[in-house]
């Protein structure tokens, strides 16, 4: 083909603006929606339920499952608070207590905090960027099943008294072959493998979706801040999780096939575990925290009726937090006796992270300050509480970053208080606010305002009642992870207060749950955009149809619903008889090509089952890795193999193909 011919051909393959397009008439739109519904709906029945690949359905399941594990982790916390409510209590024995605090931490970090924020991204990101679906929907389904099975496996083992008992960080040598009896530490290590697989899969889906499926017009600098947060977090998952992949693998190898990674006697080093674990573990904190910041920005902007002050600075701050977050892991290890220079470096890095966080907080304050019309709704209350709760956690964080103070309160309740303020204040409060905010989109009905306010204030009071006294307990010398304490220590009053606070938290969450259950049936019908928000997820019905949008909107600003006067032309020309999405270029989201998404399939579930069998088998016999891989290979092949029916063969199977000449 000659150069001009080629140019002419490329010219033909560009999108074009059509004036007075008849496809926008009401009848044409009606017809198109019916066709899209037929194409994208996954059908009814149990098998269809198992084969589901819609990001909204999977996202909702993910969120519900994560809250299921949150409830279990919360019950464990309540058991601990009952045990600690009075000195020398015999409600729980030391062995069970060890399992319970380990299960609590492991559940909250690996089965709740990370999955639930990623799940919010799974549900919201494709809607916010105006896409018909998520990239790699089947892989997403696989990620969900792995997450579900991992948690089930952990709790099943716990009920058989094989729950992990070495803390959520599982330090060797305590967790190594020498002291970690039985299968408990193996269960922990393998649970980590389940959640890693799930987390990495979801992060990959999100990155590719955000990079390649944004609707035309949504250049990177018009992306909603929540989408930016999810992009940054997904990258953090991709760079941080390999470290725990390696450390948990080494731990289980030490335990099962007698390697010596962490065995001092044979040249290994338990401190290596701590480095590998915290190189993941600290970024993990930001993985939990950054999506919450994204939610804060969306909610605060909506109820301030203006765009977030300093959009670019917000993005730069989140990015800076992500980068610095990889350079502070050693502050978890100050008590291990590292060189002075190392300690100073990590102190400096830990304090430096205050800067980007402060920039964001000041930007939000500026946004609220200059609000067009401020609405103090329940989601806004949750976000506002962040300023109080998280900042207390952040201040104790700055304190802990300094080595002398850290050495003094290391392994005391001061640290417990600090990280609950950071994690609950920095993530759970905004998350609960976010759920309240997006619930109408997900289920089509509003949550009840009065119950919402009651629940919020109970939670706020209960939270501070529970965790504030822990600062004082820690300064008074009460160590973490002890199942009881003698009456003579004088810790009784504060502990009782904390337990009363825990009961208050339980009541508040119960009210939240009642609110959800009642509103699902009787809540006010939400409509498309009940809060008057600016981003694209509010430009479709609540709950959105299986195909998300028809016609797919394009955008001309970062607040498309507040700038309808710009009126960018909607998108037409995607096939309606197959699940076609528009792939765009990374930076400016210019249209590139149309791409057919795979539909529902049982293979992700089957592959998750075979993978789970292999993981569990390997705990009991190292050869399980080899033999267990065969069914995985079979299911993966089945997954990959195209069926004639599904493929649209446009060319002969044999011979040289020239798609340019045969494509429509």
């Amino acid at each position: 083909m000659s150069a001009p011919q080629k140019r002419a051909r490329d010219e033909e393959k560009r999108p074009r603006v059509v004036e007075d397009d008849a496809r926008l008439s009401r009848q044409a739109q009606e017809r198109q929606r019916l066709e899209l519904e037929r194409t994208w709906a996954n059908g009814r029945g149990f098998i269809a339920w198992l084969a589901e690949t819609d990001h909204k359905v999977i996202g909702r399941r993910f969120i519900v499952t994560a809250f299921g594990y949150f409830t279990l982790g919360g019950i464990l916390a309540a058991l601990m608070r009952i045990q600690l409510a009075k000195p020398e209590n015999t409600f729980l024995g030391p062995d069970l207590y060890n399992q319970i605090f380990t299960m609590h931490g492991t559940t909250m970090m690996f089965l709740f905090a990370v999955p639930v924020v990623l799940a919010m991204g799974v549900y919201l990101v494709p809607l916010m960027i105006g896409a018909r679906g998520i990239a790699f929907p089947r892989m997403l389904a696989y990620g969900y099943w792995m997450f579900l099975f991992g948690g089930m496996f952990l709790y099943l083992m716990f009920f058989f008294n094989v729950g992990p008992d070495n803390g959520w960080f599982s330090y060797p040598p305590l967790a190594g072959p020498e002291y970690g009896y039985g299968k408990r530490a193996d269960v922990w290590a393998q649970l980590i493998t389940f959640t890693e697989v799930s987390g990495l899969v979801v992060a990959t889906c999100l990155v590719v979706t955000i990079f390649k499926l944004r609707t035309p017009g949504m250049s990177l600098n018009r992306m909603p801040l929540f989408v930016w947060a999810m992009l940054i977090v997904s990258f953090m998952v991709i760079f941080a999780m390999p470290s725990i992949v390696i450390s948990s693998t080494c731990l289980i190898l030490d335990r099962l096939v007698s390697t010596h990674f962490f065995n001092q006697a044979e040249g290994g080093d338990p401190i290596l575990w701590q480095h590998l674990f915290w190189f993941f573990g600290h970024p993990e904190v930001y993985i939990i925290f950054l999506p919450a910041l994204g939610m804060m920005s969306e909610v605060i902007a909506t109820f301030s009726r203006r765009s977030v002050f300093g959009y670019t600075e917000m993005i730069l701050s989140m990015t800076a937090t992500a980068f610095i977050g990889f350079g502070v892991w050693v502050h978890h290890m100050f008590a291990t006796g590292l060189p002075q220079l190392g300690q100073s470096f990590f102190t400096a890095a830990s304090i430096m992270i205050v800067i980007p966080t402060a920039i964001q907080i000041f930007n939000w304050i500026a946004t609220i300050w200059t609000a067009r019309r401020l609405q103090i709704t329940v989601p806004f209350l949750y976000m506002a509480s962040f300023f109080f709760v998280f900042i207390i956690g952040g201040l104790t964080g700055v304190m802990l970053a300094s080595v002398p103070l850290d050495r003094q309160v290391h392994d005391t309740y001061f640290v417990v208080a600090h990280f609950h303020y950071v994690l609950i204040g920095g993530s759970t409060f905004p998350l609960l606010g976010g759920i309240y905010f997006w619930f109408p989109k997900m289920y089509g009905r509003m949550l009840d305002d009065r119950l919402g306010r009651i629940s919020f204030w109970l939670l706020f009071a209960g939270f501070n009642l529970t965790f504030f006294p822990m600062h004082l307990l820690g300064l008074g010398g009460m160590p973490r992870r002890v199942y009881t304490y003698p009456a003579a220590m004088g810790w009784q009053g504060m502990n009782l207060l904390a337990s009363v606070g825990a009961a208050t938290i339980a009541v508040s969450l119960l009210v939240y749950l009642v609110n959800v259950v009642v509103s699902l049936r009787r809540g006010a019908v939400a409509g498309e955009n009940p809060w008057g928000a600016a981003t694209l997820e509010w430009a479709t019905s609540s709950p959105p149809p299986s195909y998300n949008f028809s016609p797919q909107p394009t955008v001309a600003s970062s607040e498309p619903l507040w700038h309808s006067e710009l009126a960018p032309p909607p998108l037409v020309g995607l096939a309606t008889d197959r699940r076609e999405v528009l792939v765009t270029f990374l930076l400016d989201a210019e249209p590139d090509h149309r791409y057919e998404m795979p539909g529902p399939s049982l293979w992700p579930l089957l592959t998750a089952i075979t993978t789970s069998i292999m993981f569990v088998w390997s705990i009991f016999n190292p050869w399980g890795v080899v033999w267990g891989s065969i069914p995985i290979f079979v299911t993966l092949t089945g997954w990959f193999w195209p069926t004639e029916k599904k493929e649209r063969i446009k060319h002969g199977i044999h011979g040289r193909m020239r798609p340019s000449e045969t494509l429509p």
């Binding site: 470290s243 390696i246 693998t249 909107p553 020309g573």
Partner: protein
Amino acid sequence: MSAAPRVSHTLDVSPLPEYGFGHRSLLWWGTASMMVIEGMVFAMVIVSYVYLKGRAPHWPPSGPSPDLLWGSVNTAVLLASALPNQMAKKAAERFDLAGVRLWLAVCLAFALAFNIIRFIEFQHLNVRWDTNAYGSIVWLLIGLHTVHVLTDFLDSTVLAALMFIGPVDEHRFVDVSENALYWYFVVLTWLPIYAVVYFGSRVS
């Protein structure tokens, strides 16, 4: 739709093609993500190797370093496999089914040879995984790379089988192209691992 009712013009994307190679395709980004994840895994193991080495008075703690012969032969095999790999990639990008079949088969032969030599390589490491921490980290490094070569061999076999007997459309050619990209990753990651395993214990 907020603006739709008042707008009468549209952006018609129906003229666009139905596939794209390289960074235009979703699959390329998925593969890239996998490569970053696994590259990080290898990097963490190499860091651990250096960490353990730095703490040991002697490295290897006992016994000789790995024999150079088979590891080097295998490095040559792996580097040579880049040629058929590139041919397969190019054939896929011009939708040349016969070429894809031919070069995929050659690639498979290389991968098979590599796996066989790898088996011999393991026996010339001069240390077992349970001897000491040095043995553990060496076996982990090579073991992880072997898992990659094996899985790539198996999935290339499936892909080749598909190109011979299965229904083929443009997306399968994109698959071949991305599969070739992934093989490059397997080849390129071997080079630092080779340097660490075979020379990490020879230089002090």
